[in-house]
Amino acid sequence: MKGKNIAVLLLCLSWHTVRADEYSSELAYYQKFPVVLSASRLSQPLSNSPNAMTVIDRKMIVASGFRKIADLFKLVPGMYVSYYKDSQPIVAYHGATDQYARRMQVMIDGRSVYLPPVNTVDWADLPITIDDIERIEIIRGPAAASYGANSMQGVINIITRGAGDVHGGEATFRRGDKGINDVSTRFGRKGDTFEYRATLAYTADNGYDDLSSPPNNIPVTQFKASGLLNNSHDDNQARLFNYRANYHPNGTDSFDIQFGFNRDIQGVGFNDKNPNPSQPFSTNGNTFHDLTARSDFVQLDWTHFLENSSQLDVRYYHLQENQYEALPVYLGGVYFPGPVIQSLDTGRDQVQIQHTLPTSATNRLVYGAVLQRDHSSGFSSMPPIALFYNSSFNTDDYQVFANDEWHINRQFLLNAGGMFERDPFGNENLSPRASLNFHMTPQQTLRAGVSVAYRVPSLVEIYFPTVQPGALIIPGSTPTSPGLIPEKVVSREIGYLGEFLDYETTVDLRLFSDQLSNMIYLNKTVGKLVNGLSAQSRGLEATVKKSWGKDSSLTFNFSHELTSSNIPMLLGTADIWADSIPRNSASAMFSQNLNNGLSFSASYYYQAAMQPFDRGAIDYQPIQRRMDVRIAQSFHDFGGIRGDVALVVQNLFNRGNSEYIASNVFNRRSYIRVTANW
């Protein structure tokens, strides 16, 4: 605090000093400045990026009307977003549309939230709300050279609002169908060397509807035969807090401090397998119950600008999550109030150091190292079968990475780099990447690239429990599938980026060909997970953005994908990998600012029919078509308060789209959102 006061005093002094010297006026035109928005601080322009990238910015987030972070990825060409439970989204890219989609790295401000032991993201327990997000950068394709381990099929990098982005107070209230009831308050202060923001939020909803009849014209008998009809217990409640502060005592150092937590309670389990007159002796090891989760994190970032405009970034973060469930079970028709108790603790400490160094006017080198320790421990107590087991793992992961960006001349840009990793299981993997960008004109760029990346097997894949009740998977203590090696992808792509200024239009096209190998699958004959699944996918992705002045814009995304795998050979079944990927998907979003603070946006989402990878035929997902609209009115001075009121209607035409689980039918829902700022 003392430092801040001195800084304020100094500013006042300098203010008057400069005022006194009125002769400085013409020198104001000729003064020298440090380069603030340098290439190393700015994200790389898309036309210089070695990967295909989709950016979802704040404007799009607002216009989308979404209240769940995962839904935003519907705006990424080729991405699959669906729900196992209303609070358990599945986000997958180019396949692996399964409950434990795990082939994409997910980060918040560079902090990986892709966690052991299953190597997935607990979207319901993230310590941020959708309104804390400034923008999301989605790398489509492997990018280990820039984003580290497990960036196998892509990277989601969520960038939250900076410490100085909230000035004053903000309160948001959202209320609508399906028990939607969200309240959040945000507060921030911006000083000359110190700024902070904080969010305190509560979000709640009742999840999907309790179905009264089966969806998709499936007969009741068939639905019952599959043992699944209702998904009525998927309420979700989260209480979260996050804080971000930035201290920049001078022009060369910046310290960012973040911490936060989330306390989440979600309804899980299914009651359809409970004993009843038609199935008196059935077993249900996952009855209705609550899963409580607590996640906490702290992150420190130091950015130091050195001479010769090089930049040093040092990051440390710690995160931890505890998940707990206690549930009664039915065994052969007998009720055991139990309860079965499972608890899982996971955590991570990571230190990263990165140096961004312009070695010449045309060359920039980024290199660094990562040390990471993951912790995973848990127990499963199953009194009905007198079984108790626990396990504990501490694993270390070391990575070094480098990427060189060489502007060969005005037209050609070469990005070459790679990441070397020694993973927790002692595998050593090298993930190289190279891409050549050809600027045909300043507005037209062709890109050709090839990259390799790996996914380290998860603890659960190696230590799968012999009995798995409830919703959590607690790794066993002895390996069930030893000797698994990392999955590998080799991705080739040709991209085109065109900017047509006179038409206010940009076009982003990508042709890709991915070879996935060593993928892990369940070999039923040996009864364990093994490497050996291979798949190829080729396709086209397109994004076209058009604007009419500043107040009107249209974004259109399209993806066409053809894939095949060796599953027919491995399992003797149809190619369920190929069937699990929608051949075509598209999204479009139009937004318009009207006069007097009125704004309107409409979004349309299309997804071809598909069969989720790890579900039965009952969960076949027919063609999805969905239209969302948002209309908002802002006010600037309502008793000294500014803000807006918005109405969002999702699935306006009530298409009855069923999700990853057929009983998750997304019916029309609407909500009102009121925001006040002061």
């Binding site: 002769y23 928005l37 000359d192």
Partner: protein, 317 residues
């Protein structure tokens, strides 16, 4: 009357001789009309003044002689009066030189590199009928508005943060913007609170922020926060120089000291010919700069600097 006749003849001859003598005496000064002594007075030794001086000398013909001084060397009046007696034209560079010299000489003066709003005040202190004119350092508002129109069509709310006691002609800027269908959000920074509170107030209501020549606000210490705030809020900064654009401003229309010197030397050559100076004027030579990386990251589609300059020139024709 033969005596008288020759007398009249002699008288005529004498008149002719006298006329010839006058003609001979005056002729050199007529034929060497371009020969001029210029007294160049700089406001200091800062690089912009030095760059001006070098370019000014370089663009003058050999028969215009330049004596150069810095204002610090003119602390005693004797130096000035000795030098000004010889000078056909005094050219000042920068506000300080102009304000110091104008009331102290009655020689013809060309003030350069001074803010336009200071001109009337200086002229009022100058008591002489000799030619008096100026070349301003700032760009005219209509040129700034042209840049906004061609570079950022659709950006309708232009923010401006200025010091409380600034003499900027904000009314004229407002009128020009309104003519283009845009509005000006002008706020005076409140020195009692944080500069960033004021800045934030402007940024939150603006589509673009127009920098003003006030080093109390726009200086090397503050520029980081200003640019980061503008970048975060997706509000581009329109700067005042290439340095602003290098630092992270989206674009700028500006004149370098060399541009001003070229214009001043042309006016000086003209003065040497006809002893007249043009009206006080804004820079005739100017440049446009664009930071493409910033444009891309802000998601702004912007034409090249060359094309923007052509469009501004067309508008000014």
């Amino acid at each position: 009357m033969p005596f008288l006749f020759p007398q009249r003849v002699w008288s005529r001859l004498l008149q002719v001789f006298a006329g010839l003598l006058w003609a001979l005496l005056l002729a050199p000064s007529q034929s060497l009309a371009a020969d001029l002594d210029v007294l160049l007075i700089l406001s200091g030794n800062a690089p912009p003044y030095q760059e001006f001086a070098a370019a000014f000398r370089l663009n003058l013909p050999a028969d215009i002689h330049v004596s150069q001084l810095e204002i610090g060397q003119l602390e005693n009046m004797d130096t000035l009066s000795r030098l000004e007696q010889k000078a056909g034209l005094v050219v000042t560079v920068g506000l300080k030189a102009g304000e110091w010299v104008a009331p102290r000489t009655n020689r013809p003066i060309l003030l350069t590199m001074l803010p336009s709003y200071k001109y009337a005040g200086i002229k009022a202190q100058h008591h002489s009928d000799e030619p008096f004119s100026a070349i301003f350092v700032d760009q005219p508002w209509f040129r700034q508005v042209s840049l906004i129109r061609v570079a950022l069509p659709g950006f309708k709310r232009i923010g401006l943060l200025h010091a409380p006691e600034d003499n900027l002609d904000i009314a004229q800027l407002r009128a020009l913007l309104e003519h283009e269908g845009a509005t000006l959000i002008a706020k005076a920074a409140d020195p009692a609170t944080s500069l960033y509170a004021s800045l934030n107030g402007v940024l939150s209501q603006s589509d673009a922020l127009l920098a003003v020549p006030d080093s109390a606000i726009y200086n090397g210490d503050n520029i980081r926060n200003i640019l980061l705030s503008s970048y975060r809020q997706r509000v581009p900064l329109i700067g005042l120089s290439q340095a602003y654009v290098n630092a992270g401003a989206l674009c700028a229309v500006y004149s370098t000291p060399q541009d001003l010197a070229v214009q001043a030397s042309a006016d000086t050559v003209g003065f040497a010919r006809n002893r007249q100076l043009p009206e006080a004027q804004f820079p005739r030579l100017y440049n446009v700069a664009v930071n493409r990386e910033v444009a891309i990251m802000l998601g702004i589609r912007i034409h090249s600097a060359t094309r923007l300059k052509l469009q501004i020139e067309q508008a000014e024709r």
